[in-house]
């Protein structure tokens, strides 16, 4: 059986699942198959023309040879070695070199009905011989047969072909190779020739649907015996790196909730959101009608993110990156420097370019590659143009879920059209949103002004106030609106009202001042009066003191005069006086 020692990390999970698996190395596919394809068994990959069967098969083979040390054999019934080499060169594989290194063997089997005459009994031993030789030459662990069904056009004896195919599948199992057999999709059954009846272990169905001129590729695991697997239809992309399956796991509600807060880039809005901004890993919806400044709010957030040194992925569905950079420069946000520093990635694409799933797969791939902390989608409403409402909703749900599971803060910008209630998003994602910021116009007094309020913000105290929202050359400014008897006033009416109020306040202040001055003056007058009275009183007091002093002095003088007279009158009088005085 296959070498599992080459993959020590995986062997554990294989044991747990019971079934040994061979990793494909294809992004996302190993996740939904929980480890890869059944090791040592054939897997059927079926689908219509151009759905990517051959690519999936060869990617499995080449990645096996390059990344997992498992050489492989590609038996091609449709493409020559040159064609294949050319096709995989763009994926970064040098097929010719791998063949030269004996890691890959390609056998082009060409069956031309026109030059074959059937005369009696035969079997397909030649195919076995060739396959056996190729497997032994490179020591193959993986085999691809693409497309085995071509045999049916080359030979007329169908009963024989079927029994030979049965033998082939048994033989492949006995060889212990992990095989992929591709088959064209048929009516009412998975493959045109009913190949699925031979392959009982794993069947993968690829689908390429076009609805309203938009194509979407999907992959579904129809069955996988002995293993659990994702059962949904998974969108996948084919790009320059090959197949990229979007492993949308179940819509679990078990993502971690961070209590870390990140700035909105608008100080006043931070203040409105409990003073700290958004929660990390939450989903934020910015909705509003045309021209209300949604993209500006998004740009401020992108700017704040990059300022923290974090990466931001900005998905633009309306404007080109250059246009966004130019426009945002006018409000003082220079996104260009962030893109140069590699912190900001602006990815623009027309929403109608792909189907919803393809967009999602694309976002998924970008997120995986760039690993941002913040993803901005501007706007999501355009995405609904790529699919039906229900589809768009389901896809956004998956997107939000995916971003949340990675703790990525998602800002979704939604354009609401007039007539529709602003509190209803075109794509009904409101219930998934943690913080919803609503931007509105207020038309008043021949003016159209912007206003902003926080409709909801889970898990934080947030302001219930409408703020006037102004886009200035230094970014976004939020101002209190005037709420008066005539309702909410904004813009110049607010300014006028403010001026009126200021004038009234000034008048009131002046009146108060005047009264104050008056009072002061009166106090001064009163005090002057008091001073005058006191002066009068003091003068009177002084006068009376002076009179008293005069009286005393006079009496003294009288006494003194008496004494002198007595001296003159006789000595005895002195004794009398003396005695009298005692």
């Amino acid at each position: 059986m296959g070498k599992s020692e080459a993959l020590p990390a995986r062997s554990k999970s294989q044991q747990r699942n019971g079934l040994p698996k061979a990793p494909t190395g294809i992004a996302g596919l190993d996740e939904i198959t929980l480890g890869g394809l059944p090791r040592g068994r054939p897997t059927l990959v079926c689908g219509g023309a151009g759905c990517g069967k051959t690519l999936l098969a060869i990617e499995f083979l080449l990645r096996g040879a390059r990344d997992y040390g498992e050489p492989g054999v590609f038996m091609a019934f449709e493409e020559t070695q040159q064609d294949l080499a050319q096709n995989v060169r763009s994926l970064g594989f040098d097929l010719d070199k791998m063949i030269a290194e004996n890691r890959i063997s390609v056998d082009y089997v060409h069956v031309e009905r026109a030059e074959i005459e059937e005369t009696g009994e035969y079997d397909l031993e030649g195919l076995f011989v060739r396959l056996g030789l190729a497997i032994d030459t490179v020591g193959a662990k993986r085999v691809v047969l693409d497309t085995l069904e071509s045999l049916f056009s080359g030979f007329s004896n169908e009963a024989l072909l079927r029994s030979e195919l049965r033998r082939l599948f048994r033989w492949l199992k006995d060889k212990g190779v992990t095989a992929i057999i591709t088959g064209e999709r048929g009516d009412g059954q998975l493959t045109r020739q009913g190949l699925e009846e031979y392959v009982s272990d794993c069947v993968i169905l690829l689908d390429h649907r076009v609805r309203e001129q938009v194509s979407t590729r999907r992959l579904r695991i129809v069955k996988y015996r002995g293993s659990t697997h994702g059962t949904n239809e998974y969108p996948f992309l084919i790009d320059q790196h090959g197949i990229h399956v979007l492993p949308l796991t179940s819509l679990g509600l078990d993502h971690a909730a961070s209590s870390e807060r990140i700035s909105t880039g608008i100080p006043r809005l931070d203040a409105m959101l409990g003073g700290e901004g958004y929660y990390r890993g939450s989903s934020i919806l910015v909705s509003g009608t045309a021209g209300t400044g949604k993209s500006s709010v998004a740009a401020m957030f992108a700017d704040a993110t990059c300022r923290r040194g974090e990466r931001c992925l900005y998905l633009a569905f309306e404007e080109s990156p250059q246009q966004i950079v130019r426009n945002m420069r006018s409000i003082g946000v220079d996104l260009g420097t962030w893109t140069k520093k590699g912190l900001l990635r602006l990815e623009a694409s027309r929403p109608t370019l792909h189907g919803m799933e393809t967009h999602l797969a694309y976002v998924h791939k970008l997120v995986k590659d760039f690993d941002p902390q913040v993803v901005i989608v501007d706007p999501i409403s355009n995405l609904s143009a790529a699919g039906t409402g229900a589809e768009a909703e389901a896809m956004l749900l998956r997107l939000i879920d995916f971003l949340k599971s990675r703790q990525i803060t998602a800002m979704l910008v939604n354009l609401t059209t007039g007539g529709v209630s602003t509190e209803k998003t075109e794509v009904g994602v409101s219930s998934l949103i943690d913080t919803w910021i609503l931007l509105r116009d207020i038309e008043l007094g021949g003016e159209r002004n912007r206003s902003l309020y926080v409709l909801k913000s889970r898990g934080m105290k947030h302001s219930n106030q409408i703020r006037e929202f102004m886009i200035t050359s230094e970014g976004i400014k939020l101002e209190d609106v005037y709420i008066g008897p005539e309702g909410v006033l904004t813009g110049s009416m607010r300014v006028a009202q403010e001026n009126r109020e200021r004038a009234a306040a000034l008048a009131r202040a002046q009146e108060a001042e005047r009264k104050q001055r008056d009072l002061l003056r009166r106090r001064a007058a009163l005090e002057a009066q008091i001073a005058a009275l006191r002066a009068d009183f003091e003068a009177a007091e002084e006068e009376s003191r002076r009179l008293a002093a005069q009286d005393q002095a006079r009496e003294q003088r009288i006494d003194d005069g008496r004494g002198a007279a007595a001296v003159r009158r006789g000595a005895e009088a002195t004794a009398v006086t003396k005695g009298k005085r005692k």
Binding site: E117, E118, T119, L124, E125, G126, R130
Partner: protein, 101 residues
């Protein structure tokens, strides 16, 4: 086609029969081939029998899938006839020794 029939008498025939081991089908094919050649191409044919179990690499050369396969290497163009050649009529048609009636 009629010109080919006239000219075919002078041509040398090179035939190669691919087999895989001594299976009943292979043995029948060898026997049937010799009989047809002796009847129609007496003296101007050459048969090479390739056992793919011994020489598996040769299978790629002529895009051999079915066993047994008879390849008419000469005269050109190359023709392939698969099966044990038990249907003589079809064998002759396949070798273009006879027009399909």
């Amino acid at each position: 086609m009629s010109t080919r029939k006239n000219g075919s008498h002078e041509e040398r025939w090179e035939l190669r029969l691919y087999t895989a081991g001594q299976t009943p089908k292979s043995l029948a094919a060898i026997k049937n081939l010799r009989r047809v050649c002796d009847e129609h191409l007496a003296g101007r044919y050459e048969i090479e029998i390739v056992d793919l179990l011994k020489n598996p690499r040769l299978a790629k050369d002529h895009q051999i899938i079915a066993i047994p396969t008879l390849v008419r290497k000469l005269p050109v163009p190359i023709r392939k006839i698969i099966g044990d050649l038990s249907d003589t009529d079809r064998t002759l048609v396949g070798l273009q020794l006879k027009q399909l009636s």
